[in-house]
Symmetry: C2
Subunit: 331 residues, 2 copies
């Protein structure tokens, strides 16, 4: 694979200029460019520049409002409502997180309900932003149907990711961000393109049989991770990210979408907890003892570490040459 | 297996009298007897009468306070602190849930931190109690180390269950209550006793190899469900139920325990959300449409239904004859 070396500020400038040329105002272009650059910075390239054509498609079709002005307000002292004004999620999230953190620090717990928004990015930067405030963060998003409930062949859940961040003393947080599908849909597509098998338990073919052929998912269904337990968690994500905040379930999001290739409108729920208030001020010292035991266990790895190692690298980032050319062409 | 038919009030009377003869005051005996009877009522026999010897052992050893007076108070308007006074959890939970529900209905979200308590029961009745208030309930508990983080052979997590309840219109709630271990430790022990194999992926033997021999877990380690993703969720439960509320991590609970066979001291975290406040008053109608789609999917089953069918049965409950005799002998 041919690659080009870029500095992070070059990646951000490129992304910003593409968004500005495609209908974004400065605030939205900046927030989106930061989101793309954060992904490239941490080696999460599946959520970086490669998403730009999808963003652009929905700006050009008019499905997404590039000049969205998110409305952030308290419904109660513990509930922040973030209405995305039909724009992409990053600007609403950037503006909402400080209010969510403030409420959680005052009350010990708070929730942010993001609605009327298009979420096309990773969740880990969002929960990490809560950990940066010394809080515990949890976030869930639903998507369009791709995953069948355990026992069924009918796609009903999105890949429905859930992310969690735990703040540490003088260290990057413990963070996970995982699809509740057995595999991210992007990874299945890459396996199909490259002719690789997927593990047993990833999907069912159209007859409902387990298959390792990634092409079979085109007529079949992706499975939740972890059997009936993972399916229950995928269901919980669907109920929390849609039902609990009054946004679209995955099937509703698909029905309402214009099919431009960009992300449909949907919701996200954020939960922030303050262990300072729940447990008292020595909670981080107490928890570090446990986390050190975890790190000492042979073969165990705390989630999020690979991204954090990549983050502090002062190396240039490698960008696929064709991807870079395609991105420039969207300016 | 020889069984005896009992009415639910007979089960409750028997349990109550055992608890009263073993150091419980009336309030604690009643709360524990209700907990045991609720499990038998719903066919969750692994959490019913079979647990009584464990309860009694810890009352007799003095580890658990049978006359505990839980202290329930607001730390903030959104945080309920429930200090169990070193007793069993049911009384503290019965008294705490109404305060938690009240806070969630006022603010949209609230948390209850249960500490200084011994939790030896199922979680689903506790989150169902929140669903009965029209709320979404989530609860997590940690235990003594039995489960190794993904990639490791060292037990560090408890079986760490997580339960979730979603309130429905004129129907029992959607409820799951699942160990984040691949299998509950009780089920592994039953497989060992009966000479049955366990599924591949349940545990590792002492050399760290996957095994289907349930006896191998005695020298080996139980695995989390669902590979690295399930392991991340088990870690989240450990951090929420212990670190976030300042109670003992599983390894600390084991170190501090007197080994009497009853449950060690530990914590539980409860989260309650009000979709009425988050989404508006039509949330249940909206969500019912999704749940009806789920129910219509061939082969899919909403979690909790088996218990709810058992619950409404007016049949007598079948109790193992030897278990019944053993229970009477503890009076």
């Amino acid at each position: 694979m041919e690659t080009v070396e870029l500095r992070l500020d070059e990646i951000e400038d490129l992304a910003r200029s593409v968004f500005e040329r495609n209908g974004c105002d400065a605030d939205n272009a900046n927030a989106l460019a930061r989101t793309v650059t954060t992904a490239e910075r941490d080696g999460s390239v599946s959520h970086g520049l490669i998403r730009i054509p999808g963003y652009v498609a929905s700006l050009r079709s008019g499905k997404v409002n590039g000049a969205a002005v998110p409305k952030i307000f308290n419904r109660t002292p513990a509930i922040i409502s973030a209405n995305g004004d039909n724009g992409y999620a990053p600007l609403a999230i950037e503006r909402g997180i400080p209010k969510l953190a403030k409420a959680a620090k005052q009350l010990g717990v708070a929730v942010m309900a993001l609605t009327h928004s298009h979420h096309f990015a990773a969740l880990w930067p969002e929960v990490e932003a809560l950990a940066d405030h010394g809080l515990v963060g949890l976030a869930c998003v639903n998507y369009t149907p791709a995953v069948g409930p355990y026992g069924s062949r009918q796609p009903l859940f999105g890949t429905n990711p859930m992310a969690f961040a735990w703040s540490r003393l003088n260290k990057p947080p413990v963070v996970f961000d995982m699809a509740t599908a057995s595999m991210a849909i992007g990874d299945v597509k890459i396996a199909a393109r490259d002719g690789h098998a997927v593990p047993s338990g990833t999907c069912l073919d159209k007859e409902g049989n387990d298959t390792t052929d990634p092409n079979a998912i085109l007529d079949g269904v992706l499975l939740p991770f972890g059997g009936h337990k993972g399916s229950a968690i995928a269901l919980m994500v669907e109920l929390l990210a849609a039902g609990a905040i009054g946004e679209r379930f995955s099937y509703e999001a698909a029905e309402a979408d214009n099919g431009d290739g960009g992300h449909p409108r949907g919701g996200e729920i954020f939960l922030a907890l303050s262990p300072d208030l729940l447990a008292g001020r020595d909670w981080q010292t107490h928890s570090e003892k446990f986390l050190r035991k975890f790190e000492a266990a042979d073969g165990a790895r705390l989630p999020g570490q690979r991204r954090h190692r990549m983050r502090i690298s002062d190396q240039m980032r490698l960008v696929n040459t064709a991807l870079l050319e395609n991105t420039h062409a969207l300016k």
